[in-house]
Assembly symmetry: C2
Homo-oligomer: 632 residues x 2
Amino acid sequence: MTANIDRRIEELKELGRICRGDIIKMTTIANSGHPGGSMSSIDMYLSIYKQANIDPSRPFDPNRDRVIVSHGHTSPGVYAALGRLGFFNIDEVISGFRHAGSIFEGHITRGIPGVEWTTGNLGQGLSVGVGMALASKLTGRNFRVFVAMSDAEQAKGQVSEARRTAVKYKLNNLVVVIDYNDAQISGRARDIMYVDIKADYLADGWDVIEVDGHDYYQITEAISRSFGGKKPVAVVCNTVMGKGISFMEGDVSYHGKPLSLETAAKALEELGLENDLDKYVEMRKTLPSYHEPVKPIDEPIKPITGTPITYPVDKKTDNRSAFGKALADIGRANRNGTPVVVFDCDLKPSTKVNEFEKVWPENFIQIGVQEHNAAVVAGAASVCGTLSFFADFGVFGIDETYNQQRLNDINKANVKVAVTHVGIDVGEDGKTHHCLDYIGALRNFFGFGLIVPADPNQTDRAVRYMSQMQGNCAIAMGRSTMYPITDENGNPFFGGNYEYEYGKIDIIRKGKGITLLSTGQVTHQAVLAADQLKEDGLEVTVLNLSAPLASDLDSVSDYLTGTVITLEDHNIDTGLGSIVEGYFVRKGFLPEKFVKIGVDRYMYSGDNEKLYDLVGLSRDSIVEKVREISSQ
Amino acid sequence: MTANIDRRIEELKELGRICRGDIIKMTTIANSGHPGGSMSSIDMYLSIYKQANIDPSRPFDPNRDRVIVSHGHTSPGVYAALGRLGFFNIDEVISGFRHAGSIFEGHITRGIPGVEWTTGNLGQGLSVGVGMALASKLTGRNFRVFVAMSDAEQAKGQVSEARRTAVKYKLNNLVVVIDYNDAQISGRARDIMYVDIKADYLADGWDVIEVDGHDYYQITEAISRSFGGKKPVAVVCNTVMGKGISFMEGDVSYHGKPLSLETAAKALEELGLENDLDKYVEMRKTLPSYHEPVKPIDEPIKPITGTPITYPVDKKTDNRSAFGKALADIGRANRNGTPVVVFDCDLKPSTKVNEFEKVWPENFIQIGVQEHNAAVVAGAASVCGTLSFFADFGVFGIDETYNQQRLNDINKANVKVAVTHVGIDVGEDGKTHHCLDYIGALRNFFGFGLIVPADPNQTDRAVRYMSQMQGNCAIAMGRSTMYPITDENGNPFFGGNYEYEYGKIDIIRKGKGITLLSTGQVTHQAVLAADQLKEDGLEVTVLNLSAPLASDLDSVSDYLTGTVITLEDHNIDTGLGSIVEGYFVRKGFLPEKFVKIGVDRYMYSGDNEKLYDLVGLSRDSIVEKVREISSQ
């Protein structure tokens, strides 16, 4: 037994020596990258990957353990460890590192065998680990989760949010391994911003084990002790930046600076490794100019979408209640199948996810006022076999967590973001709570879907639709109630057999010469205005764009030649109106007249109907505007 | 002496009784708002405002103490305390609360006498307090800063970031007073997300005093003990939600629910106060439909902008180095005047603010990897007599801190945000580090300025310009070096006497029929392309839009009728191209041909010049595109 352990430790030591050479080589060949931290973390990485239950020949097995590396700039260390443990060909890394023709980017990328999350923006990894460890329990797969982090990123507040969440949910299938090299870009970590790492973890209810981060026996033993206890455990590894090369050790300047070819030769000599740099220089010359982006391989989930609810046209309902009911129904339908998980930030009575909590309390995860963490936890859970919903107000679920959603997007996750209280429809809570950029913000990303439903019936269908749609998608809803939108016969427009289709534009009223293009619950006002105007003999077209980022405007181009008015409870410059402007220019035609109506300033705290009047989004103000235009 | 204290305590008690009535009245009259937390916090508020050195008759005196209320939804409590202490007419609050015709919004607003920061998004207030306490020391004004917070928001990670910053900078002119009512929207705080508040503050190096939050003597005494010691102090006030009205006490449902007129009558009776609700109902009817937004009154700063540096055209320089040098020069010029303060998040060698550090080390504030906190600290410092620069990479200073910048914007602060490493120009660090939304993100706000300079010389002038510009403004710079842009005679285009003017479009080359509209360092490529094309006999106009959010396109409309090509190292859908599209539609004309070139996906980690080639932003690819178009 002891002999086995000794052999294993010797094997790790030899791998450590070789990997250090790989780190030197790939950064030198790329003339770019982060050797210093890679060399302080490499012994951690080898200990973790060696211990984790991941089969290099089946790296996407849903039951595999997950390893998250939060300080993604130590990619040379991660790639070296994975390469030498058989996950991929190490020569491809050394020659291709940081080259556009190679998948081995400057920061690790989800989908590469062994890499579970694209990181690089610090302080995110523990939240990822929490999300995956939760999913491990909720799916019953019971895999373990290893999170490696740097010391500098312990200062990020999001880490404390993740710590508390791990304790609350008793995540003893999670271990955090911290590279405490006490060095960061600007100098010694303790001078830059002192974090008492041990005290912080203990204060939040964790156990802490301190080890020599270059002693494989200590690291391995501490990690294996960490699982299954009463508390989650942080293993703090005392390390040396640049460890292994005499002239790099403790020198902060090697954080983000590679060695020259000459200095690399010296380093390789010191490691007792062959200098084969020339080979990789040559290999690099043969790389293509770019590569196909890595596609993560996730087990697809097939949630049941339940049975649509049709809200009667004579009773006011809010979209968020329709969302809450649909979500609860989806929960009910999947109780024996796909784990549906809902993440809340202490707003359940307002976002209406309390409906889901009643149905499936164990899968209702209360993260409290910790939005950054919640967005990432939900994103990470979404790629581990759960249908993951993150519910919040717009200003928190989109604005406060903007970069977290961007990272979910970069990670090609599958999170469903349900934000309520968007727009000045929020009313009295005022400008800090008026989310006016739910289109403009997500438009900056390249992959996120967005649905802005018009009424409770469309909301119901859209929620079910997005549940089975692959990829990240947000749904944005207001606060106030409305009568469901009717067709010209007075029946629910989005009721009965109506099926939601992403990108499809709904032609709610057909008129002549004047077209209202609208999104979200403003459409309700637009329809009321059209019906009122009809009494005056003015027939106005009303088009509803529930997917502003993907609307098929070609399908309605016939309606876009006369007077076109866009209506949005959103920043007037960055939402629907701007998208429609882009369409006109792209197509090379302009309507006879184009008017944008939206919010052009931070708005007052006040009654939402009065605010709509003020901005021109209420039925009456739309009617007035159309009359004014048509009398010109 | 004791008699004096007793009298003071009795006076506070009586004010507490009256203010509780005011809280009930204003929320009932508005039929909206948060009475529960207001009533647990009111005794804290009265104790704080009574003790703070703020003269209601001179509420904007630069030397006043600052009081920050982080849980801004307890506005009824804040308004009641301030109203009863003579800061404004309490009747105006009670009748106008949450009405669009009144300045007394649902969340407290900076600029109202006694209100130093608009809050409402939780977890921001301690960072605000840290920024103001730092400014207090750096300006030599030595005022004190009081921060009131709720318990639920202690979970926000940003609070831990602020705590560490306060300890690092020995802010013993700062006290935090926490309303520990153990109640939040979804239930008991300890059940929602347990935070060991005391342990967390102690772990981060603070002192903690626990008191009965409804005992004026204890609160007052604890606060006055808190200043001037070795550590910052948190006063934890044990309180009861809804305190003072028997049927409200401890009932979480009163978090965000006002009393009906009938129930309010009972509450007023219990408080022994006259029921004058009718009076306020009548007053409310007379309010206008909206009010002029509150304009904060800050002492204007008049920094010296130093002497412009002209970079020679035969030497490559990066914009960020030009920024670093200009900032250092501004520091040097103001050493005996306006305190210039620079906030860094452990990126000084990359953002080049280390140049400033050499000049003015005491005013170089190192916040570490705590961006959310840093953005708010810088914003708060910017309204307390300092010229405040926050420097970071684009993905952190804009994306990660998107909502913090939005809140700086809502607060009409005066922070200068300098982001480097924007665009795919960042190259090898890859997609997590490519900020592609510096225009699209700030375009969602209503007040933030944005400068994207073309070359080192324009950067130099722009930095000096923004230093004396009033209001929040960002400057976005890439990573790579370039030769400064020349005029047609080979002299620096932005050198010599060139003065930066916000919104002005620079006509760098005048051509015929084909116009390149460009922003940032892509302009350099556009000019090189134009010069190359000239050799082919193609004269191309190059327009540089350094202020994409405010560009005076009318001034160059003559150039916009033929072929127009926009070029941006930015998301192709949400930046310059989109702004130009909006201009065409607004003006009602289209160019003969319009082409947008920009980034349409998350980009590779690779050599920045090769990435520019791939996307079409390099000199050669622009040349090729123009040739292709002109040969059609």
